[in-house]
Amino acid sequence: MTFFRLDPEVYARHRDEVLTLSNSFQRIDRRGLSDREIAERLGLDERTVTEIRVIAERDCYPLDEWQRAIDFKRKACSDWSAAALKRPDLKEP
């Protein structure tokens, strides 16, 4: 038994479709499909769909988006505490 490794070409071909159909990210308006349901729809095997989905979840954004997440939270948090505590000096520039 060799270690299962996804073919990058298969990944590139199906990445967006799998992510759109999946239930990885919970939505308020509709339920996502399970990996098995996606596999049936796309004519792939379930293991391949699971691998595409898991890799695609990490591949949505580049590393820079993580830095933006940090900057966003710092600013939103300090803005909130400044407003809630009525302490404008706590606000980050």
């Binding site: 239930n23 308020i28 898991v54 979840e57 590393l63 993580w66 997440a69 939270k73």
Partner: protein
């Protein structure tokens, strides 16, 4: 299997509240079929499942919400305390009632997909409803952490809540004035955030959501962040530059967080921090 006493549900709920839950409800296991895909339903986890007991609690304190550092809530916001209540419920069902009880693991089954949606369980147990921002809010307690136990016991079920906590009255007023709400304002999709929606006939309607970006915020210093920096490090040919990435603040904080990854799973609270329905901002001294 033993006969289920007529007051079993009431007794079990008392156990949950005594163990530290703020709220407790029971969902019909079959009710998940309409919303959850196969492998993520109670019967997929426990064959013969009839009900799901859901407990909520361990909310952040008022001081946590006004803390000046976003890293405080991402460290102190934890499912650990409510998980302990869930485990206690599972133990009580098996030892006192004699039915199978499966504590729903709080982690993920594959990638970011959970074994079973705890938010859906909370909704179906009548403990809250989804907010415009996403999290399920309880009308009395607002934002809380959830834990669930799937069981073969035919407990008395609670129906889903009919009146949602979201939108709060002040959000309805803000919408009338500004065509925005606190959560939409703090994290707007059109300005690089995650949320888009509107209020329609007094109800919250989400129109778009960037789940991928939300994941970078909710899981900034977590598994995803670790993988991203690891990839960057492996692609970096210069030894000293690799060291800057591996020893830097991002990787260090991420590794601290990952060591608590089974309990400390959310790291962005900004839509909930601004939400009047998530926590009553009381006057404190």
């Amino acid at each position: 299997m033993t006969e289920l006493p007529s007051d079993a549900t009431k007794r079990l709920k008392a156990v949950a509240l005594k163990a530290g839950a703020s709220v407790v409800g029971v969902a019909d296991a079959a009710a998940f079929d309409a919303y959850a895909p196969a492998k993520h339903r109670p019967v997929d986890l426990l064959p013969g499942a009839r009900t799901v007991v859901v407990v909520g609690g361990a909310q952040p304190r008022a001081g946590d919400w006004v803390a000046t550092s976003p890293w405080l809530l991402s460290t102190m916001g934890t499912t650990e305390r409510i998980q302990g209540v869930g485990r206690r419920i599972a133990q009580a069902i098996e030892s006192e009632l004699g039915y199978y009880a499966l504590f729903v693991p709080p982690g993920t089954a594959a990638g970011d997909a959970p074994f079973m949606s705890l938010m859906l369980a909370a909704e179906l147990a009548g403990l809250g409803a989804r907010s415009l921002a996403g999290p399920v809010l309880n009308r009395e307690h607002g934002f809380m952490y959830w834990s669930a136990v799937v069981t073969t016991a035919p407990l008395d079920v609670d129906g889903p809540e009919t009146e949602a906590a979201c939108p709060a009255p002040s959000c309805r007023e803000m919408w009338e004035r500004e065509r925005s709400t606190p959560c939409l304002r703090v994290c707007p999709l059109e300005a690089g955030g995650c949320l888009e929606g509107r209020l329609e006939d007094g109800r919250a309607v989400r129109t778009a959501y960037d789940a991928g970006r939300c994941s970078t915020r909710v899981h900034t210093h977590w598994v995803g962040g670790f993988q991203k920096v690891l990839e960057e490090t492996l692609n970096e040919p210069d030894r000293e530059r690799r060291k800057m990435l591996v020893y830097g603040d991002f990787m260090t904080r991420t590794l601290w967080a990952i060591t608590y990854s089974s309990t400390n799973i959310a790291q962005c609270f900004e839509c909930m921090r601004a939400c009047p329905a998530a926590h009553g901002l009381k006057e404190m001294r």
